[in-house]
Amino acid sequence: MQPFAYTRAQSIEEAMSAGAKASTAQQGAEVRYVAGGTTLIDLMKLDVEQPATVVDINHLPLGDIERLSDGGFSIGALVRNADLANHEAIRKSYPVLSQALLSGASGQLRNMATTSGNLLQRTRCVYFRDTQSPCNKRKPGSGCPALDGYHRNLAILGVSDQCIATNPSDMNVALSVLDAVVVVRGSAKDRHIPMAEFFLLPGNTPQRETPLEPGDLITHVLLPKPVPNSRSLYLKLRDRASYEFALASTAVVVALDNGHIASVAVAMGGVGTRPWRSAKAEQAMRGAMPGDDVFRKAADIFLADARPRAGNRFKVELARRCLMKAMRDACATT
């Protein structure tokens, strides 16, 4: 680990002004906020991250879960994953979020990891994590060994010729299906960023993962009020039964009316460079009777633009089955 100066932010403004001194808030940032540390300190040990300054934000007043007047919830950036997953109202109103959180990492890590830290969790691509390897995300223009190398765990949707790294977070998939909004306080202006816009596609700039700028600080995540009479669930498929990242996962929120699908949202993890949604696939199911024919058609639409490679071709079929089973289970429990 490279040496760095450690400071403890006493206020949100103090954290923001420390962060604003960096030239980027993306890969290679000279200033990093530390909350749970489970991603950052891991990557600092690997020299993938080498901040000159680490700002401890654990003492900022961002640790609450609050019910909003519109029926939604506000989740503080520093709410630990374990506390969010086990929060009674979250469990009841947003089972998909609770299940996604509990399917990720381990009990110890969930006690440490925070909401904002999980949002910014970095890819598990082995070349990104190994500073001896080229990696366009870590060192723009250096190349991508994953394209023809080890990419079993990498993306088939949203990929580019520069990068096929998967967003590894389970929580992000659930937040996507729930249409959550990320609240960012910034030195320029405060903004509300919908999940659909929070993660950037790699394109030709895989080092740029979010719209965050130096001095920006995620303060909250807003959950819209639960869809009335809906059921939600998270289905995760992986190489081990526990403590492993998803090869494919599906988050579903569905509401049935008179035996028909009145509303449905589906997001997938493990298959995209960001949590993946398909408006067309959801549209194909809306108004239909739940059934494998409908689910298969939706899965085909969802995966129509998949660009698998030799080592992750299996993911197309795995994802199809994952989506279908999640839909089947969600509709069966309604």
């Binding site: 100066a5 450690y6 000279e30 891991d42 040990k45 000159a52 654990n58 009990g107 440490m112």
Partner: protein, 208 residues
């Protein structure tokens, strides 16, 4: 410990710990010893220069096993290295050092965490409990006793992490079935495969 203290190597008393360092400096470095020697924070003289601050020493005070301890640490020092190398509390083990094995599990303010993925300087004012603070010979914590009763280990390297995790799990909101207990403990890897006995040990404490 008393036996180890009587042992001498080239006139220097040695323990199991500094024995590894001695054979390391003697050139007989195996992969294992090299990993342990280099994984800890290097002394200031060996550090690569980076940025403006190369000697970022900080003072941090925390309650460790019921005792207030003040440390002066390099900001890079993890809680794990602080416990092991600064406070000589070597019951907490360094396995992967990347949050993937659970050997370093300790309690911070009553919650189980991976001590390898958190910086010591982040724990000003915190209460830390390690396996040394749980019980002691002759007065074992029920979970320690249960691991003995059920043979919940083989080589023992993961055991302190398993025990710290298990004690915390019983305070967490998990369903009571075996599958849930296994899931709750999945962050603690045992390469000897003592999982069945570990589960039996936890169930014994849960039932009592």
């Amino acid at each position: 410990m008393t036996i180890e203290k009587r042992r001498q190597f080239a006139g220097v008393p040695f323990t199991r710990r500094n024995f590894l360092q001695m054979i390391g400096t003697a050139g007989a470095v195996t992969g294992l010893t090299s990993f342990h020697l280099h994984a800890a924070t290097p002394p200031a003289s060996q550090r690569a220069s980076h940025g403006t601050q190369t000697d970022a020493l900080s003072k941090v005070g925390m309650n460790v096993n019921g005792e207030h301890r003040t440390l002066v640490v390099d900001s890079r020092t993890t809680l794990l290295d602080a416990l092991r190398d600064h406070l000589q509390l070597t019951g907490t083990k360094k396995g992967c050092d990347h949050g993937q094995c659970g050997a370093c599990t300790v309690h911070v303010n009553g919650r189980r965490v991976n001590a390898c993925l958190t910086l010591a300087v982040m724990h000003e004012g915190d209460t830390v409990t390690t396996v040394e603070g749980l019980g002691r010979p002759g007065a074992l914590h029920p979970m320690q006793q249960a691991f003995v009763d059920h043979d919940g280990y083989q080589c023992g390297y993961c055991t302190s992490g398993q025990i710290m995790s298990a004690v915390a799990v019983l305070k967490e909101p998990w369903p009571a079935d075996d599958a849930s207990l296994r899931e709750a403990m999945s962050g603690n890897i045992c390469r000897c495969g003592a999982y069945k006995n570990i589960l039996a040990a936890i169930k014994q404490v849960k039932a009592s």
